[in-house]
């Protein structure tokens, strides 16, 4: 068998007592790509990562790394580089000793080790802090040291557990690009766990959306974003409008809804066309969020459905709360979901 996958989950489960954290997932981590595991807390993404790293033994299924069965191997036998959410630097060692720790265990000679430590630190731009202690560094710097330490051992996979969640907003954006750069420079296969859909969209080659221990959808961001497979994925990716139809439902993003003063009964077209009323307006500078109550012909319930439109402030019509409006969306922006 040729090695095209860095790692594979085959029907892998993790059951804690009567709670199923991961439910028989099948997943292929492609070689040399960045894969994100995305989902809300408790969806099983971190549990999956910890099983891949060897910190948790699966209660069912097999985990292959480069085609070999590693299901029950302890972490120290796996040659994976893990970056922890808390960074987990060794507080009693210098930055250089942190980065060199894995190399020392691999019996890399002193001079070779020093060279590789310097290379790893240069890659993250921290060669000048080699002699510092972790507690003297900022959060962002600690993060970089943790990445350098994981990359220095030339791992088969680089695993990152919510690596950006402890950083402030600006640094987070910067580190997204930085991690992508490191991935492409080293050609490493990377698995990154996150609950932030923007992060996953921006960083992934392949994104895997999880919920309740199951994979909901996987694919490139370009494939997943415009075509969510079900209502959960759609909501998670920011689709807020769900309109029931005869045997299914359609969803549309707030920025793809058009709202206009009603001239005549809404014209029927290929796309979405509903009558509704403005119930709330929120001006946000660049855009205006319009909350609407719409009559839904396909709905079994007599109550109007709630829709949200995100209009550009510069081109939005002049609306007041209570206005009767026509709500439309073009067919290309509609995604049909199972009911």
């Amino acid at each position: 068998m040729s090695v095209t996958s860095a790692a594979q989950f085959q029907a892998v489960s993790q059951v804690f007592g009567d709670f199923t954290a991961v439910d028989a997932i099948d997943l292929t981590i492609p070689e040399g790509k960045l894969t994100t595991l995305l989902g809300p807390s408790g969806c099983g993404k971190t549990t999956s990562l910890r099983m891949l790293a060897g910190y948790l033994r699966p209660t069912g299924g097999r985990i292959l790394i480069r085609g070999e069965d590693f299901t029950t191997a302890p972490p120290e036998k796996r040659n994976l580089g893990m970056v922890f959410q808390s960074y987990a630097l060794f507080p009693h060692m210098s930055v250089a000793d942190n980065v060199g720790y894995g190399l020392k265990l691999r019996r890399v000679s002193g001079s070779e080790r020093a060279k590789r430590v310097t290379e790893a630190l240069e890659m993250v731009g921290l060669a000048h802090l080699a002699g510092s202690r972790p507690k003297q560094l900022s959060g962002g710097q600690q993060q970089r040291v943790a990445i350098a330490r994981a990359v220095a051992i030339e791992p088969d996979l680089l695993l990152l557990d919510e690596p950006l969640s402890n950083l402030d907003a600006r640094l987070r954006l910067q580190m997204r690009a930085e991690i992508r750069r490191i991935q492409s420079e080293t050609g490493l296969s990377v698995v990154l766990v996150t609950h932030d859909q923007d992060e996953a969209l921006e960083m992934s080659d392949q994104m895997v959306v999880m919920k309740d221990g199951r994979i909901q959808q996987q694919g490139s961001p370009q494939d997943v974003f415009p075509a969510p497979a079900n209502r959960f994925v759609a909501e998670f990716l920011g689709y807020e409008n769900f309109v029931p139809t005869a045997d299914a439902q359609v969803t549309v993003r707030p920025e793809h809804l058009h709202v206009n003063a009603r001239q005549s009964p809404a014209a029927t077209s290929d796309g979405l066309s509903l009558d509704g009323r403005v119930t709330d307006l929120a001006y946000r500078g660049v855009d205006v969020l319009v909350t609407l109550a719409a009559d839904a012909p396909g709905s079994s319930s007599p109550d109007p459905i709630r829709l949200v439109a995100d209009l550009r402030a510069s081109t939005a019509p002049d609306l007041r709360i209570g206005d009767e409006v026509a709500i439309t969306a073009s067919p290309g922006h509609l995604v049909t979901l199972p009911a």
Binding site: G54, P74, E76, G81, F84, A88, H92
Partner: protein, 265 residues
């Protein structure tokens, strides 16, 4: 001091006075030039300190006490550190109950422990009193070892140990290169606490003493019952000085808040 709570502040001051004032009289009388314990003292001299360090029964008792304290500190840590690790890192059910059991020697009256050891070990098993005392002190110091090292273990992020494993270290290697170095201040302060507590112990040592092996506090107690000269005061001052020194070192290296914070939690 918190000036907005005058009653609490006054009580605290009163508490300190009650605790420290008697010590003050002991320290002053130790420096007397006279030959009786009296306040104010008859002049100033160091003659009773000289007498103390040359009084053979005290010095051999001091050697015994030091031996016993060192043994108890080392032995209680050798047992206590693995127990603390098992409680904080192990996957064992009923951790709380287990921890409570290991702390129970703090609650059982020492005289009861002493009597039990006397009956079962010395009479029952025919052990000599040195062995029995060593066991007794180790048992008494054990809760300190478990609690203090446990408190510093709780402060170590378990992810740090996971990180070492991930980088290729076996569990044993992880313990010696990561956990133990991070635990060192905790172990050090546990050892100091155990040492001081063992050194100052009277009830257990009193019950398990023998003519050949007697600790310093017990010897001093005997001495006071026969004689009442300032040599006891000067010896007390020397012990006090040594104990304070140990406490200062413990405070500087780990901090009392960390040591006792664990006990109050």
């Amino acid at each position: 001091m918190n000036t907005r709570r005058p009653v609490a502040a006054s009580l605290a001051v009163l508490g300190y006075i009650v605790m420290i004032a008697p010590l003050f009289f002991v320290v002053i009388t130790a420096f007397t030039a006279g030959s009786t314990v009296r306040f104010p003292p008859d002049g100033f001299s160091l003659r009773w300190f000289e007498a103390a360090v040359t009084y053979q029964p005290f010095m051999s008792a001091l050697a015994s006490s030091l031996q016993l304290a060192v043994f108890a500190a080392v032995a209680s840590l050798a047992l206590g550190v693995p127990v603390a690790l098992a409680i904080h890192r192990g996957k064992i059910p009923g951790k709380g109950l287990l921890e409570g059991m290991f702390l129970s020697p703090l609650i059982v009256p020492e005289l009861v422990v002493g009597l039990a050891l006397y009956q079962q070990f010395m009479i029952g098993l025919g052990m000599n009193n040195l062995t029995t005392l060593a066991i007794g002190h180790t048992v008494l110091m054990f809760p300190y070892a478990v609690r203090v090292t446990g408190a510093s273990l709780a402060l170590i992020d378990p992810a740090v140990e996971d990180a070492a494993r991930g980088l290729g270290a076996s569990p044993m290697r992880t313990f010696f290169t990561i956990t133990l170095p991070l635990l060192r201040p905790g172990i050090f302060s546990a050892a100091l606490l155990a040492f001081v507590t063992s050194f100052n112990n009277v009830p257990l040592s009193l019950l398990l003493q023998s003519r050949e092996f007697r600790t310093l506090p017990v010897t001093m107690l005997d001495y006071v019952q026969q004689n009442y000269d300032p040599i006891v005061a000067s010896t007390s001052v020397l012990i006090l000085a040594g104990t304070v020194l140990v406490a200062v070192v413990a405070e500087r290296t780990v901090g009392f808040a960390k040591i006792f914070g664990g006990i109050n939690r």
